[in-house]
Symmetry: C2
Subunit: 474 residues, 2 copies
């Protein structure tokens, strides 16, 4: 039976195994007969629905509109922008037949939709009055990965992709950074994820972009997870697709473009940042159920009190579930821990006789007894504390795993011995970036904008032009 | 410029052309470079989002959970259920290559997901305690159609597909009919669509189903639109996929299955049922904006009043938009009609001086002047009236286009001369069903359950076993 994980592997023993144990045992995901694709089960999908609903509201507040583009891209359309096709052609799935007939031109399943949006923008953008166009799409994309891992790297990816067109470069750059900030705030405030935000190097930027910005989260094992990107394209694509508008000076001009996206990968980031040996730990602000009520014993008064508490919580918009299965309380406690409900509410007859129930925090395992009449207000307070604690804990751990290297030897020494990110001075030369990658597999994460550059390149000793993070990546 | 429809073709002159003019001019859809696929533009997608949000709540109220299955099906998996593969293999898109490598086994893009759900159910259903499983999925599917038409028939279809498993046949049949009723109520109360609901004949049922139920809407031109289906599978699929559970009698048994779905086709049904020569007419309960405010003149007091009205309407949860473009009022009125906003609010200085604004109903074009302080309550009343009127009007038209035929000659005579549905007595023999189809292209729509069967088969004269509708179909 595919679904039985008897015991979760310890996080410090085998992190990769721990990860797959948790996602299976918490019923987030199942494997399927379709190689490289995963099944997102109800509990996992509910997390994604919460992410969608919160982000969608933010996008719309800023004037973005949802649309739906085709899921297929004819080969000739993919070929229009040279850098872009070079980046994506090696990893697309090709459709060659419809029914029993061979297609005249093969099509790929979209790996991303820049060319589809451009094909449409060419028809609908004629004047500065048509700008900006602020579009977003929730959909599935496909990249034919060789090695896959649920949520982190798979052949099918659920995501949103924003695509916008602007009358000026300044506006487009502003939009690129504005959406990066929306992601940063969401990950910080809702997912409790500390992220390092910055610009990618030319080597690592999106195929066809002028500038790519990234959100880099550090997982428990010190490995980086690129957890969202925002790109500025200038007007390269617009020119390749012959998109022109009449600007305010009555001249034809190619508009300026952005795209930005986040995926179900964020679920992976939550698991690998907050989870522990007992399973999933969900930040209250994204949990499908913030609380779970567990009745102890079969007394009618216990069940009644459970129902009452649930109504009180729901009244205050605190999501809640009662575990009414015929399992033992011990089994239910463990299951509630595996699934990462932020607060467990234990309701037993003996406690009730004294007017009390017991609350258990998932993040610290701390148990507190509270008066029945204070449950809702206590939980409200606890949820905020848990949300903050998860962020602080993750931030502290991350910061303790960021190192600084001044020489290449120092770099390699840290890279080989200490998990985490390494911060260096860099001359900006791709040769140095490649040398590090070839030697130890660390890739550049992003440039650091707010630190002074003094000293020489960690790699070649020439004058440094940037401060930059390196790390291993998922 | 692909987007310019100068004038909408008259509905009675060329209905097909009228339809495509309306969807283009109302900015619902655009064509793309991807043959057979459409682009759903923001205004069209907002209608779909409303449909999703209302239906999703209904599904969840009834205990359904959303999941996400793979979008690809390996050929061997599609082949497991014989009837099913026969029905779908001719119209799937085949993926043969990932990047530059040929796949060992080709995969199709899901045309529907029964086999994917079964593959998963086999792993997670072991005992009656695991039942029912009530799953739903919002996704895109692909059927390689030769002739396509926006919303009605396209290679990519946005839809939801419910897939459920039950411990008994009775429960599964109940679920099949329950979801059919959810669709019927939704189409009646939200989309203002009268639908005929009934069972498909064996010839027309879903590939692999034991019984298929359908919702048949009649378009303005008398042609039928199958606007949703609900299927009962018995346990054919479960047996083919070796899905077994331990029942309450401690015996292994194959569970009983349903599936049900509706698509963006419902948007096509709204257009072709309610639309008129001036464009789209949206039922208030599904319109992205129930009202549009059009300021007349550039006076500051007019703009202020428009903003005030908008706030008042939004306070009462009546969605609202102000047209602030630099076009003339005449242009704005026409555009508001094309887009089908249920109520147009005209705010002009002269009216305001008398404490009045003008409301225009989209369904009847009736204009009424109301006191400024009564606008919200009047609109609230109007919206209900418009919703009811659209339904009543469609029902009346439909009923006036349903005919009865007692002989084959009578049938053909009506079929050739009068658009609409034809009701007949039928012996139940597929030969008669085929004869009608071959002679005039009418297909059986669904069996009529609530009418007494007296007389003989309209086709062969033998004893009738059913009452049944026939019609042309989209």
């Amino acid at each position: 039976m595919a679904n039985e994980v008897k015991e979760i592997t310890k996080r410090d023993v085998n992190f990769a195994k721990w990860y797959t144990d948790v996602i299976k045992k918490a019923d987030l995901v199942d494997y399927s007969s379709v190689k490289g694709s995963m099944i997102i089960r109800p509990y996992g999908y509910a997390i994604w629905e919460n992410m969608q609903s919160i982000l969608d509201k933010e996008f719309k507040k800023l004037g973005h509109e949802n649309v739906q583009m085709p899921m297929f891209i004819p080969e000739s359309l993919l070929n229009v922008e040279k850098e872009h096709v070079k980046g994506f052609a090696p990893e697309v799935a090709w459709i060659t037949h419809g029914g029993s007939e061979k297609l005249e031109e093969r099509m790929c399943v979209r790996p991303t939709s820049e060319v589809l949006f451009c094909d449409h923008f060419e028809k609908i953008i004629k004047s500065y009055r048509d700008l900006p166009k602020l579009y977003n799409q929730w959909c599935t994309i496909c990249r034919w990965e060789k090695t896959t891992r649920p949520f982190l790297r798979s052949r099918e990816i659920l995501w949103q992709e924003g695509h916008t067109m602007h009358a000026t470069a300044e506006e487009a750059i502003e939009e690129t950074l504005r959406m990066l900030k929306v992601y940063e705030d969401f990950q910080r405030n809702v997912l409790a994820l500390p992220v390092i935000v910055g610009k990618k190097t030319d080597k690592e930027k999106f195929a066809g972009a002028e500038a790519s910005y990234t959100l880099e989260a550090m997982m428990y094992d010190g490995v980086a997870l690129q957890n969202g990107t925002s790109h500025y394209f200038g007007n390269h694509f617009a020119e390749a697709f012959n998109i022109k508008f009449l600007n305010k000076d009555n001249k034809m001009e190619a508009p300026y473009q952005t795209s930005w996206g986040v995926t179900t990968r964020m679920i992976g980031a939550i698991i690998m940042t907050h989870g522990d040996d007992n399973g999933l730990v969900l930040p209250p602000n994204i949990a499908p159920y913030k609380t779970i009520i567990i009745p102890i014993g079969k007394d009618e008064s216990v069940n009644e009190k459970c129902n009452e508490l649930m109504c009180d919580l729901l009244d205050k918009n605190i999501s809640c579930k009662i575990d009414l299965s015929d399992k033992t309380p011990g089994f239910k406690f463990a299951d509630a821990e595996v699934k990462g409900y932020p607060v467990r509410i234990e309701v037993g007859q003996r406690d009730l006789a004294n007017g009390l129930v017991t609350l258990a925090r998932r993040d610290t395992f701390e148990k507190i007894q509270v008066k029945v009449e204070d449950v809702v207000s206590e939980i409200d307070k606890l949820l905020k504390e848990i949300q903050d604690n998860l962020y602080d804990r993750a931030l502290k751990r991350r910061d303790s795993m960021i190192y600084e290297a001044n020489t290449f030897d120092e770099f390699i020494n840290i890279a080989m011995n200490k998990p985490g990110f390494i911060k260096i001075n860099w001359c900006g030369d791709v040769a140095c970036e490649n040398k590090i990658k070839d030697e130890c597999g660390f890739k550049s994460r992003c440039l650091i904008e707010d630190e002074e550059i003094t000293g020489s390149c960690c790699c070649c000793g020439k004058e440094a032009k940037h401060r930059i993070y390196f790390g291993r990546q998922y």
